[in-house]
């Protein structure tokens, strides 16, 4: 049941993140119509003592566990674009998906009580557009790995 067709996801570069929460704000505005991080599909985890912030959002697993555990089939994805879709009418707010997602990428809507999952803004994620630090990249999943390899090699050479 994997999304399969997803070509690009939101890749996170925690080292670059400044912790400004711009992504949370713009996401909540795009998706929920107001500036409130609680409505955001991307959430920041801050480690104040280490001066580090890590944005966390859906990474589009090939076998989405949220879709597997949903008892009412409300967690779906578009068969064409692969974008995630929560059927808000069928979603009962049982929180199974939020509990099952190993990333913690699914939250419940504070008023509606339904699940919220990143839908990549229909192919143009606002969080990526508005990230001032370039900590979010909309790119094929393997790009981040490539970057990582590159930086490792560079580090080796310098040694």
């Amino acid at each position: 049941m994997g999304s399969g067709v997803i070509k690009k996801i939101v890749n996170v570069i925690p080292e670059a993140c400044t912790g400004c929460r711009q992504c949370e704000l713009i996401c909540s505005f795009e998706q929920g119509g107001s500036y409130s991080p609680r409505l955001s599909r991307i959430r920041l985890v801050k480690f104040e003592d280490k001066c580090l912030s890590v944005p966390v959002t859906c990474t589009y697993c090939e076998r989405p566990i949220c879709e597997e555990v949903c008892p009412v089939g409300a967690m779906t994805h578009d068969p064409v674009t692969g974008a995630a879709k929560v059927n808000e009418e069928s979603c009962r707010g049982c929180k199974e998906c939020a509990n099952a997602c190993p990333l913690g990428a699914i939250d419940m809507h504070p008023e509606k009580g339904t699940a919220m999952r990143c839908d990549l803004c229909g192919g143009d994620p606002a969080c990526v557009k508005y990230c001032p630090a370039g900590a979010l990249k909309y790119e094929p999943p393997h790009h981040s790995v490539k970057e990582k390899r590159r930086s490792r090699v560079v580090a080796l050479n310098l040694d």
Binding site: P71, V72, G73, T76, P79, N87, E88, E89, S90
Partner: protein
Amino acid sequence: MPRHLIIGNGTAGFSAIQAILEYDSDGEITVISLEHHLPYSRVLLTHYIGGHVSKDNLYMTGESFFKQKKVNLLLGAAAVNIDPEQKRVELDNGRVLSYEKLLVATGGKPVIPQHLQKESPDIMGLRTIEDASYIRQKSLSGAKIVIVGGGSLAIELACALREGGNFPEMVVSSSHVLSRVADDEAAAVIQEQIQSYGIRIWTGEDVTEVVHTSKGVEGVVLSGGQEISCQVVVICKGVQPNREFLDRVLPTIRGGIKVDSNMRTDIPDVYAAGDVVEAYELSRQEFCVSAIWPHAIAQGRIAGMNMTGQDVMYEGSLSRNALEIFGLPVISMGITRVPAKRDWDLDVNQDKSSYCKLVYHDAKLVGAVLVGKVEKAGKLQAAIRKAAGIETVLN
């Protein structure tokens, strides 16, 4: 100009009101209803007849709700025609109401076969509080009651009457009770349970005539020739949608009003929900009337939300039924009768106290009948829905 007009103050209508209030709190809502009652639970009517629920507890809400939320309530008024061009609804008292969005939630009324239609209060269906009060009063005064029909409503009524100390008789045209929802084996268990409480069931028989004199109903004649003497005949042969007032705008429809997945009818800005509609049924994969409470609630809410400009879809009905027969729970859902074809399969588990049948089509669960032990019912329903849902995604 009222923005939202709702015809029908029943389950679906009330559910829609709540949805509209939630999403459009300053929208103007007007509700008209034929009955002189606040919304009440029809399902509790049999429990009221049986004496388990008082009349006051039938109501879903009080008058204060409508006052507080500023919902205009017009009780005792019936819609007789609608004019989609002018966006107006004509009432039987001559008033004309205009609307921006209209919801038709008029429910249904009992089907009374032609040959039994007589001018007598003692030949009746069961749909309203008045019907229930009448039956209760007759039952308490010891009248003999014959129930025509063997569906879940007929059974619930028979059980309720029996619990109130009355011994009704049932006349069922098929070979066993619950012929539409249960299979033969389950029906046999159920029938035995009912009979063990002293309720007589005539199967394979129809009422051909009601003996009716100046003193009122005196008995019924069955197709087999027998006569049963009785004072009241309650006909539980299903419901037919209340849509006569739409006949001029939608002359071609036969059964219920057809709606799309947003609960819209073919008329612009007119929505419909509840027992009056024909919605998509997941297990049979066709449009049909599926007159049960949970569908009325869900459809009402979706219609209400869409009337306020949201865009939510109804995932489809799954016909199902839950009832208790003197302590014996029975739940059936989806397709319960298996056509003798190759890709259909069955899984039956039976022991002394329970019966469980699962129906598969193309290796997918499409139906279930549970008697006695029913804890699994919810999980089975989820499985049936999921299987159907995945298929619609693939299509």
